[in-house]
């Protein structure tokens, strides 16, 4: 097992290949806990973990919350309406007030890129990034990689295609960093208006043609189309988007037999993916959710430093 010395998990960009593999390996041992009749381990007993969410989220926040509880940590949920924050207390003040309650870890979701980094500079507690603006969503990428590892068993040379609004996707960015570090070949696919400039320099290939982009893909990761964002500027209509970039029944014939269909959720049935594809034999969308729990348990455990303590005491 590799070492882990990080106090925070802020991005996948800053992780080494070895650190990513450490998380994936640790997650494997935690996956079993959820399969036991008594789904609880005492490793984080006495630790307090705060979920500080400045953006609405059900799946990520529930997943973290459950992961922390299964490790016997005490969990506090704080959801903040971003607009009320703009009127009053600053992020740094909010975080310092929470820290004054003597907590160990803050898991933060924020609409502003970089917010977790600012937090980590100003407080002593550990910080886990649960998604910051269009920047990164590290645990989503880790659970995606974990799911791929479980299904495919390897990363070297694996072809992964990410489809959708790459410009506004923190999931895409974290996946590109992580998968490239593990040796996979990442292609991003979407209309040119949704592909950010110089994305190639992050290690991704670019395609504007879904058929070509999925033809030899081992994994196709479909991103949610965010209706609320700039429609009419980034794309003319949802109808036109779906006609060109939807993983619909028609698209199935271009896929490899053993290709995996992934989606970070929540899905728009009939927009970026058809029901048949979402529920079909290639889909691992619900496995991703299950795996998310194991991966987040692994992250909480590694960040807590308990692993190093266990190692030292066993020596």
């Amino acid at each position: 097992m590799h070492k882990w010395n990080r106090k925070h998990l802020l991005s996948i960009e800053e992780l080494s290949r070895e650190e990513i593999l450490t998380v994936l390996q640790t997650a494997e041992s935690f996956k079993d806990i959820s399969l036991r009749p008594i789904k609880k381990s005492p490793v984080l007993r006495g630790k307090t973990i705060v979920l500080l969410f400045y953006e609405p989220s059900t799946r990520t926040s529930n997943s973290f919350s459950l992961a922390a509880k299964r490790l016997s940590a005490d969990v506090v949920n704080i959801s903040v309406n971003a607009s009320s924050v703009q009127k009053g207390e600053s992020l740094i003040d909010t975080a310092k007030n929470i820290e004054a309650l003597k907590i160990h870890t803050i898991i933060i979701r924020h609409s502003r890129a970089g917010a977790p980094m600012i937090l980590a500079r100003h407080i002593d507690a550990s910080v886990i990034n649960a998604g910051d603006g269009y920047h990164e969503h590290p645990t989503q990428a880790l659970l995606d990689m974990f799911t791929i590892k479980q299904r495919k068993g390897f990363f070297e040379g694996l072809k992964v295609t990410i489809v959708g609004d790459i410009l506004h996707s923190r999931v895409a960015r974290s996946n590109i960093w992580g998968l490239s570090k593990l040796g996979a070949e990442v292609t991003v696919c979407g209309p040119p208006t949704m592909i950010p400039v110089d994305i190639e320099a992050m290690g991704a290939k670019v395609s504007y043609n879904l058929k070509e982009a999925v033809a030899d893909a081992d994994v196709v990761n479909l991103l949610r189309v965010q209706f609320e964002r700039e429609s009419g500027v980034l794309f003319p209509s949802v109808r036109e988007y779906a006609a060109m970039f939807s993983m619909d029944d028609e698209m199935e014939k271009y896929l490899k037999e053993d290709a995996l269909i992934m989606h970070p959720g929540p899905i728009n049935r009939g927009v970026e993916i058809s029901s048949r594809m979402a529920d079909g034999k290639r889909s691992v969308i619900l496995e991703q959710v299950t795996n998310g729990l194991a991966v987040r348990m692994a992250v909480l455990y590694l960040i807590s430093g308990e692993k190093e303590k266990t190692r030292k005491s066993s020596l």
Partner: protein
């Protein structure tokens, strides 16, 4: 009273040369510049080992008064200017209320006379309320003492209004200082669009956003045969557009700021809001093109765009923090460190960018050390290094991108109208 500045090396910004000479100052004027002036009856300033320059002129500062006195005031901003070797600063009109009527111009001038450490030349608005719709009463603003017009911070997006402004100023001997940014294209962007905006997940501002307006206003200026001054040039494309325009005789001048020839968007890793500025820090290719523009004369002046902000305002999420960095105290040291030490400009060439360059933009007979001229004199040590710390600054704010860096080149003393106002750390009004 007579003051003799002895043993220094004097920069001649007209012939772009450097020579050993003494300078005799009588009252507010330079009485004589030559070797071996007799000391009798004079107060002597020994400038041995130092470089004697005309007082620096900054075409672009935000003094924040009236309206934003928590960030800076005319008093503190001019103190910062003095520390940086500037004897004249041009202040921008995006105050609250904006400088779109004679009353505010007069207020700034009065405050500067009463509280200021250096000369303040106010810029007034192009349009009423800086809204880009109706022309401000420019003749009255000029009569009250405005040295230029600008809607700095905003572009006059309506090309017809811009055309009219450029035509209208032909009646007055003043430049229009042009903030060039297509606001539709910038679209609330935060940083330069490129690899850094993509990897950091911050909304990008493309180079084209600046260049489209640079080109538009060069074309309008050429068409109506007026003059225009392009503020804070940050991109390679803008440099070549201005270079081409100058070549075909368009009356366009331009400035850049120290951060555009010394920093790139790579500094943004870490989301430090002290690097958030508009126009944004660009790529290294742009930075090199800016240096080349200074070298070949496309860029006439170095102006700071000194934009103070309180730490409360800057200690926010990157997206929510305001644009702007302070620059007055560090400007010349950045020039020495990045341009002179790295052989981009010779010392007299560098000093020109802080003196005659900006004076020509304003059409003023300043920035030259010669007999009969005003005795605005800045004395610098180009060898001495220092670490930029928070306690180095003389203004109110600390939002400098150079904090923690070591720079070379210190301002040792400054004479304003013949009076020694700054001498090795001590200030005198």
């Amino acid at each position: 009273m007579k003051t003799l500045i002895k043993n220094g090396k004097v920069i001649d910004t007209e012939s772009c040369s450097i020579r050993e000479a003494d300078i005799l100052v009588e009252e507010a004027r330079i009485a004589s510049i030559r070797k071996n002036i007799k000391e009798e009856g004079c107060e002597v300033f020994d400038a041995k080992g130092l470089i004697v320059c005309p007082g620096f002129i900054d075409l672009h500062v935000h003094l924040r008064e009236p309206g934003f006195e928590a960030q800076e005031t005319i008093e503190t901003g001019t103190k910062a200017a003095l520390k940086g070797g500037f004897t004249t600063v041009v202040c921008m009109p995006n105050t609250n209320p904006p400088v779109d009527n004679e009353g505010i111009v007069s207020l700034i001038k009065l405050r500067a006379e009463k509280d200021g450490y250096v000369e303040v030349l106010p810029t007034a608005c192009i349009t009423k309320g800086r809204l880009g719709e109706e022309l401000a009463e420019i003749s009255k603003l000029v009569a009250a003492g405005a040295c230029a017009i600008s809607d700095d911070g905003s572009t006059v997006m309506n090309s017809l209004v811009m055309r009219r402004a450029l035509e209208y100023i032909k009646m007055f001997n003043i430049p229009l200082i042009d903030h060039c940014e297509d606001h539709h294209l910038s679209d609330s962007g935060l940083v330069n669009e490129g690899y850094c905006s993509t990897s950091l997940g911050l909304k990008g501002i493309p180079s084209a956003s600046e260049e489209i307006i640079v080109l538009r206003d060069i074309l309008l200026c050429e068409y109506v045969n007026s003059r225009v001054h392009i503020a804070h040039v940050s991109t390679k494309g803008s440099v070549s557009l201005i270079r081409e325009a100058k070549k075909r005789g368009v009356r366009v001048t331009a400035e850049t700021a120290p951060h555009y020839f010394s920093l790139t968007d790579k500094s943004l890793v870490g989301y430090d809001t002290n690097f958030k500025v508009n126009p944004p820090l660009r790529s290294s290719e742009d930075m090199i093109a800016i240096q080349e523009g200074l070298r070949d004369g496309t860029l006439d002046a170095i102006a700071t765009d000194h934009a103070p902000h309180t730490s409360d305002d800057k200690d926010k999420e990157f997206q929510d923090a305001p644009f702007g960095m302070i620059g007055l105290e560090t400007s010349f040291a950045v020039g020495i460190t990045e341009l002179y030490r790295k052989d981009v400009l010779s010392l007299p060439e560098l000093v020109q960018k802080y003196t005659v360059g900006p004076a020509c933009v304003l059409g003023l007979d300043k920035g030259i050390l010669k007999e009969g001229h005003e005795a605005n004199i800045t004395i610098v040590d180009t060898e001495k290094s220092f670490m930029v710390r928070e306690d180095f600054f003389a203004g109110k704010s600390r939002n400098s991108p150079y904090l923690g860096r070591t720079l070379q080149g210190t301002v040792e003393a400054v004479f304003v109208n013949g009076n020694l106002r700054y001498n090795k750390g001590s200030f005198r009004k």
